[in-house]
Subunit: 258 residues, 2 copies
């Protein structure tokens, strides 16, 4: 809740807690921006130009301004890092992950960070103004992080990846990784890349098409593909948000069913 502790005598604030009397908290957002490129999961990292962790890679992000919410700050940062307008960036999937608040996560002062995950299609090289020039798409496929990263960003990154993988099972957001028009083969590669598995193409097609509104066929010249082979029909993302039944990952050697 908020400020009930301002009451003198409250057990939660023995002597008239005044939040402004404490060392102030800074509130920041950190972005894990993912894309699928060349059948590899990539994440957008920026090289730090200042201490601490000078020269290390870090998640893009910044402070929440006094008049904006964390979500608005995340969208603003996403637009800056990708070099797109906020309106264009607003079409991307951007979701709050969780908040990191260990007292010592930033050695200089108390910074509480709200982490967001963004899913974008394969974009041209990140381009924005200023220090976004140091931004790079970094492969992030194995279970290990893509190298040493600043602060607790390795942990945030790992959490974000787990979350995205899990969300693919129960949501339709895999299409967020695809361009406006895509083939079912490209969509399947998204799942295969994020999950690190091979999926049976006919069965995948059946499941996706079984959920109405997951994808919608496009009229245009029915062709295009990622190499040779028969040209594939094009689709665009539909309005559905939840495939039913879910597209569960194969294997997962855990509890068995009766």
């Amino acid at each position: 809740m908020s400020l009930t502790n301002a009451a003198p005598g409250s057990p939660r604030a023995p002597e008239g807690y005044d939040p402004t009397a404490f060392e102030p908290f800074a509130v920041a957002v950190d972005l894990a921006v993912f894309t699928v490129r060349d059948s590899l999961l990539h994440v957008l990292l920026v090289e730090r130009g200042e201490d601490p962790y000078r020269g290390a890679w870090a998640l893009p992000g910044g402070f929440v301004r006094p008049t904006e919410s964390a979500g608005q700050a995340a969208l603003r940062e996403l637009a800056e890092e990708t070099g797109l307008s906020e309106e264009t960036a607003g079409a991307f999937h951007l979701e709050q992950l969780r908040t990191y608040s260990a007292p010592d996560r930033d050695p200089r002062m108390r910074v509480v960070s709200v982490a967001y995950a963004a899913l974008v299609p394969d974009l041209p090289e990140p381009r924005g103004g200023g220090d976004a020039a140091r931004a790079r798409w970094t492969p992030y496929s194995g279970p290990a992080p893509p190298g040493p990263v600043a602060f607790d960003h390795g942990r945030i990154l790992a959490d974000a990846r787990d979350r995205i993988g899990a969300r693919l099972e129960y949501t339709c957001l895999a299409t967020s990784f695809c361009r406006p028009a895509f083939t079912l083969g490209e969509l399947r590669q998204v799942y295969e890349t994020v999950w690190g598995v091979r999926l049976d193409s006919p069965n995948f097609r059946r499941k996706v098409l079984a959920t109405p509104g997951f994808v919608e066929p496009l009229e245009g010249p029915p062709r295009r593909t990622g190499g040779r082979g028969k040209p594939a029909a094009l689709y665009r993302a539909g309005a559905a948000t939840t495939p039913h039944p879910p597209l569960l990952r194969p294997d997962r050697p855990e509890g068995r069913t009766a």
Copy 2:
């Protein structure tokens, strides 16, 4: 991220952003503490004793202290509100939900709140010191919130309920609502209460027992029940965290499968 904006000339902080120069943020935690009592979902609410929203019901919570994380603050508040020790309260399921940060969510100052959900068994009446005396278990079963609540707590509550319902499908945390020893009938009632459906008892039993480590049989005097009928065997929570396959909610008239 953190403090990259301290760099002068950065596009994200044009003139040497100093976070301490801004109006400070306060960081709080809000708790949605759920329990199942008499086949109804209940949530713990406290009556506010100060303005704003004096006399309205609110989620229990408080400010994050300078030396603790948000998670530690949530555990501290949970212990205070339930009147238990932090060690005892630490056995309850407590998970971070999401962070609420609209600039105007608190009329007095900028408060960013990290919301947590706690799942507890049916406890005796909430008892703690001080203003926890105003805490009450409030039924929260229908789709509507349990009445007018302070701040954006109605929204937090609705989000929390949705999350708990969804988590029951893909996790084993329903046992968190049960006492240390419980019958499968009691466990089934947890699902029925949270989801608002009737489940087939034999099939439910089959699914639960099919996931090794979901529940473990207890030796003790094999009996007890919630009224009359044949006494049921007792179980305790196992080590498994994920039922496989998931215990999906029935119905859900949405996408159909092939």
